[in-house]
């Protein structure tokens, strides 16, 4: 995939070129939204909004990391989604198929490579991590999701959320510390190699 050529075509109005980029980045974008929002349906809405918004404003992309630019769009969509959710709390619906019917077995729940026990264990660990992420302040959560879950470097994160590099370092350190403290409460769920040491305080 020639990303730069696709971006140029998309900037010239080619929806097909943009959709190729969508297919390439949709898992990352969806995962970022999922970890920030903690809800699959809200994450799907935010992802769709982010891509629509990205297409409409792709002319403003002036080079650099396209992923970082896209992450900024999805972060904004997540903040909008959270604000909307605060104003109008609603019961989320199952995602619809193209025919408008409810999808009763979403694909993201299926992972054919795991045994039921492994899956149950992984689900528990994942649930514990998501619980700890949900308890983080939004600005810490955004940084830790981008840096540690999406594997973006500091400069990309700084570009995505438009804060200085020093702030990224500080937020990430504090977010990791808070997560560590929270995960100590789920010690029995964690694999032995990841068990954490207790009794350390940071002032």
């Amino acid at each position: 995939m020639n990303e730069q050529a696709l971006i140029t075509d998309a900037q010239n109005g080619s929806l097909d070129a943009f959709n190729t980029l969508v297919l390439h980045y949709q898992d990352s974008v969806f995962n970022t939204a999922l970890r920030i929002l903690g809800d699959g349906d809200m994450a799907a809405d935010a992802t769709q909004d982010a891509f629509i918004s990205a297409f409409k404003s792709i002319a403003t992309f002036r080079g650099g990391s396209f992923k970082a630019w896209l992450m900024r769009t999805v972060t904004n969509a997540c903040y909008d989604e959270l604000r909307r959710q605060k104003r109008r709390p609603t019961t989320p619906l199952e995602p619809d198929t193209d025919d408008g019917e409810e999808m009763d077995s979403p694909r993201w729940l299926a992972d054919p490579n795991m045994t039921p026990d492994q899956k149950a264990e992984a689900d528990e660990v994942e649930h514990a991590i998501q619980h700890c992420l949900d308890n983080l302040p939004l600005e810490f959560k955004t940084v830790v999701v981008m840096a540690d879950i999406q594997g973006m470097d500091y400069s990309e994160v700084a570009m995505s959320i438009r804060v200085p590099l020093g702030t990224i370092k500080s937020r990430l350190a504090r977010a990791r510390l808070r997560l560590r403290e929270c995960l100590q409460g789920f010690e029995e769920l964690l694999p032995a190699s990841y068990r954490l040491e207790e009794g350390m305080n940071v002032s």
């Binding site: 109005g13 929806l15 943009f18 959709n19 969508v22 297919l23 949709q26 898992d27 990352s28 974008v29 969806f30 995962n31 999922l34 970890r35 699959g40 799907a44 992802t47 769709q48 891509f51 629509i52 297409f55 409409k56 995602p95 999808m103 979403p106 694909r107 993201w108 992972d111 992984a122 660990v125 994942e126 991590i129 830790v144 840096a147 540690d148 879950i149 594997g151 470097d153 500091y154 370092k169 500080s170 990430l172 350190a173 504090r174 990791r176 510390l177 997560l179 560590r180 995960l183 964690l190 190699s193 990841y194 068990r195 954490l196 040491e197 350390m200 305080n201 940071v202 002032s203």
Partner: protein, 225 residues
């Protein structure tokens, strides 16, 4: 451990420290077991987060043209027809407005004539009524022949032509005024500022252009699909 050390450890973990800062921290880590334990915890936390399973997108988030409000590419002639339709419609409405306004404002110019509706006819009547009054002034002289006619009652033969003359003199000036008023009124009623023919032409042009625009849009949309 303070906040500064925490940030140093976190940055060290990500390889974000300069070589000299890294060396300094590594020597401290050898000497300080608590610092090393915090580093291990931060590393374990980061590893857990990195191992968090990446979920597949529940569906494809590709965009449709409808989602982004994109319209089908239209033929090059489309803007011309859009302009023509707008112009013809504007002129069509303007012609109606112009004709209506000219009728409504007719009383303002009424003394000079103009207009063809009831109000303008009234003005024409006023004009016609005033005309004889003005015209009868000069015939004040006509009273002179009339008085002797009364005084000379025993000579009716002489009064008859005199009265006829007087009447003729009184009536004579009124005839051109009335004719002129009627003619002007007639002319204004029969000839609006913009003729019906032009209005029909403009209306037809507007409708035809709009129809062609719709046709082009329809064809473009069906080809696009």
């Amino acid at each position: 451990m303070n906040q500064r050390d925490l940030e140093l450890l976190s940055s060290y973990l990500d390889g974000q420290l300069s070589p000299s800062d890294s060396a300094r921290l590594e020597s401290r880590l050898k000497a300080d077991a608590q610092l090393a334990a915090v580093l291990n915890d931060l590393r374990a936390t980061r590893t857990l987060l990195r191992k968090l399973p990446a979920r597949r997108a529940p569906r494809n988030f590709t965009l449709t043209r409808k989602m982004v409000g994109q319209n089908p590419p239209l033929p090059r002639a489309y803007p011309f027809f859009r302009f023509a339709s707008a112009l013809a419609t504007l002129l069509f409405v303007f012609s109606f407005g112009l004709n209506s306004v000219s009728r409504m404002t007719a009383p303002v110019f009424g003394m000079g004539g103009g207009g063809g509706d009831a109000s303008s006819e009234q003005s024409i009547e006023l004009y016609a009524e005033e005309a004889p009054a003005a015209a009868t002034e000069p015939p004040a002289a006509t009273e002179a022949p009339a008085e002797p006619a009364v005084g000379m009652a025993p000579a009716p033969t002489m009064t008859a032509p005199a009265q006829e003359d007087a009447l003729r003199m009184v009536e004579t000036p009124t005839l051109p005024a009335a004719d002129m008023g009627n003619a002007v009124a007639q002319k204004l009623v029969e000839a609006p500022l913009v003729s019906i023919t032009w209005q029909i032409v403009l209306g037809a042009a507007a409708a035809l252009s709009a129809l062609l625009m719709l046709l082009m849009r329809g064809i473009a949309a069906s080809r696009w699909r």
